[in-house]
């Protein structure tokens, strides 16, 4: 009865430990985080110069350009401070573009074309010059040199403008010079160096830019932004410029979102009151940020509810370690069906039914095979990660053999029968033979696929009843290997 007392004590201890173990609350919560947005800031410039400012070093314009630079940095700093935003500053974007595949080779070819165009221009071959300059323009733009190195492209546009003005292609010249002054908004010219017609065209182009009739539209070509976003792996581009006369500066800002292939925000506000303008910028960015940041869908999943019921079936092999009536240990083989309930991750309650056949040994000391059915009921501790779970169990085992069990080491009893006069000593347990005792099992469960697992267990049973039977056959060491399903 000592074993039963031990079982009872252990069961109480197990229940206390297991029930006080908290449920893993995290099991029920979705896992995953917020997606970090890659945000890039495109070059910010001042476009509010007048035509006359192209030929003079105006302190007001210089100040406006300084203010523009300050707002450029402020935009970048404000964005850098936002959660879940990874900022690519303008300088970083330019550097990344310069490091893209084929950039150096393409720029080198474009530069050659540009030089050739300039050469043809000086040789007074305007058509060939324009063809080469146009090719240089295309090559530069194909690798986004208008963002990475806009001054080179501005030079191309300037020569295109010069030739077109000389050819009296007024509209095309205007567009070329407009490109020049858009790409290089700080460029200045010496008064009287170029012919009057060219100076006039330059002034016209700058005036057009200053009126910003379609300036943002030119800067915000969605197809081009989308392609650029793919090249740089950027989610959102911030496009901004400062315009207006130096005493009435205004910031225009728009945010292109690659995910929707469109602009999420487009705002403009005066910079006359810097504090107010800074608040406006914060408002714009915060409003955009609130809607732009999203959960990382790739990582979002709700962990499936923890399975609590497990049913497995397996092959069971046993060895009777105590075999007082036979010379060799007796082997048994059979099958077991185990139902496990884990109401908490740490507590394991189980019931196991086993049917096994104990085989005649080599010496024939066991006179005949006998089939034994047993039922084990108990509890245990479960532990380990969900992929591999271990359990340590204690249970009450009731075994029953419905056939008579005969054992002897007397060879005459085996051949002539136990009732023969020649049979001197033999053991017989009449049916039904009953065992009752405590079972100790160490088990493991390895998840194969979702809902299915491989089960294994090894254990030993200590029987205390019936004393006669348990005295002859006791302490079966059993090992089970099988598979099961979780519910």
């Amino acid at each position: 009865m000592r074993s039963l007392t031990l079982v009872r004590t252990l069961a109480v201890a197990l229940a206390a430990v297991a029930l006080t173990a908290p449920r893993a609350a995290a099991d029920e919560l979705p896992r995953g985080g917020w997606k970090t947005l890659e945000v890039g800031v495109l070059p910010v410039a001042y476009f509010g110069r007048s035509g006359e400012d192209l030929f003079a070093d105006s302190p007001e314009v210089r100040q406006a350009q300084e203010i523009t630079g300050r707002w450029h940095r402020m935009i970048e700093d404000r964005l850098a401070g936002l959660d879940q935003v990874r900022l690519a500053r303008t300088s970083q974007i330019q550097e990344r573009l310069s490091r893209t595949q084929d950039y150096r080779r393409t720029v080198a070819v474009a530069a050659e074309r540009f030089d050739l165009g300039v050469l043809r221009y000086h040789e007074i071959q305007p058509v060939e010059a324009l063809a080469n300059l146009s090719k240089a323009n295309d090559l530069y733009r194909s690798v986004y040199a208008d963002i990475a190195h806009p001054h080179e492209l501005a030079d191309v546009a300037f020569y295109q403008g010069l030739i077109l003005v000389e050819q009296r292609e007024t509209t095309k010249a205007h567009m070329a010079l407009r490109d020049l002054l858009t790409l290089d908004p700080t460029r200045r010219f010496e008064r009287g160096y170029y012919p009057a017609a060219i100076e006039q065209a330059l002034v016209g182009a700058q005036s057009d830019i200053a009126m910003h009739s379609d300036l943002m539209a030119a800067a915000l070509q969605t197809d081009r932004l989308d392609a650029l976003a793919k090249v740089l792996d950027i989610d959102v581009f911030v496009v901004a410029l400062v315009d207006g006369p130096p005493d009435q500066l205004a910031l225009r800002i728009a945010l292109y979102d690659r995910r929707v292939r469109g602009f999420a925000t487009s705002e403009h506000f005066a910079l006359s009151d810097e504090a107010l303008a800074a608040d406006e910028l914060d408002r714009v960015l915060t409003a955009w940020h609130a809607c732009a940041v999203e959960a990382d869908r790739s990582g979002i999943f709700r962990k499936p509810p923890r399975k609590e019921l497990y049913l497995d079936i397996g092959y069971t092999h046993g060895v009777w370690l105590k075999h007082s009536r036979t010379r060799d240990p007796l082997q048994s083989l059979g099958a077991s069906l185990t139902l496990t309930w884990e109401p908490t991750p740490a507590l394991s309650l189980f019931v196991r039914a086993t049917q096994s056949d104990t085989l005649v040994d080599g010496n024939g000391d066991l006179l005949d095979d006998f089939v034994r059915s047993s039922l084990t009921l108990g509890a245990g501790l479960a532990f380990g990660p969900s992929a591999v779970r271990f359990s340590l169990r204690v249970g009450l085992d009731l075994g029953l053999a419905v056939s008579e069990i005969g054992m002897t080491t007397d060879v005459d009893c085996k051949f002539f029968g136990t009732s023969s006069d020649r049979c001197l000593t033999s053991f017989s347990a009449s049916a039904p033979a009953v065992w009752l005792g405590a079972d100790f099992t160490l088990g493991a469960r390895v998840r194969l696929v979702d809902g299915w697992y491989l089960s294994s267990a090894i254990g030993i049973t200590s029987y205390v009843f019936d004393p006669d039977v348990a005295g002859a056959l006791n302490f079966p060491l059993h090992a089970t290997l099988g598979f099961g399903a979780a519910f």
Partner: protein, 176 residues
């Protein structure tokens, strides 16, 4: 009988040169593991019951001390055997002088498939059976000698063949 054959082969391997033995050690280990696993799964194998059955003398014998056609019913259980020796006349009827005697185990060499057993004859003589199994023949045969203990001139070569592995109860009842 495959178990005995395997065991014989194993003993032959054991007597091979040392180099061969070393080379075959892993194979032997695997074989031992497989045999062990098979033994675990079945509890016993054919070798433990190889001699069990009814063995009838292949030819009638006619000597001053043994006449007729003896039959041995042997129960073999691992390292031991027992049974009944039936003394039949040439017509197959139990001898009137001594119809039967119990077989008592003396020795059994499973590897060599050889055993020795004794039978108390009705006149008080003790007969010694020294027989060896040859399982390569069909039916299997036991061949060897039968002699009367302490009487060197009473030795007879004898061969039995297996007539049945099943032994009915009446063949176990020696009531003389």
């Amino acid at each position: 009988m495959t178990g005995i054959v395997s065991r014989m082969h194993a003993s032959r391997r054991a007597s091979s040169p040392r180099t061969d033995a070393r080379r075959r050690r892993p194979l032997r280990l695997v074989a031992a593991l497989l045999l062990g696993a098979a033994s675990l799964a079945t509890g016993c194998n054919d070798a433990d019951r190889a001699l069990t059955g009814r063995w009838l003398a292949t030819e009638p014998v006619q000597t001053s001390w043994l006449a007729g056609r003896p039959e041995l019913t042997i129960g073999h259980y691992g390292p031991e055997l027992t049974g009944v020796a039936w003394f039949l006349d040439v017509n197959g009827f139990p001898s009137e002088i001594c119809p039967c005697g119990f077989i008592d185990h003396l020795s059994l060499d499973l590897d060599a498939q050889r055993f020795a057993a004794s039978t108390d004859f009705c006149n008080g003589d003790i007969w010694i059976w020294r027989l060896e199994l040859d399982d390569t023949q069909t039916p299997e045969v036991l061949s060897g000698t039968v002699e009367v203990k302490d009487e060197p001139d009473k030795v007879l070569d004898i061969t039995f063949e297996l007539v049945d592995t099943f032994i009915p109860d009446e063949k176990k009842l020696c009531d003389r």
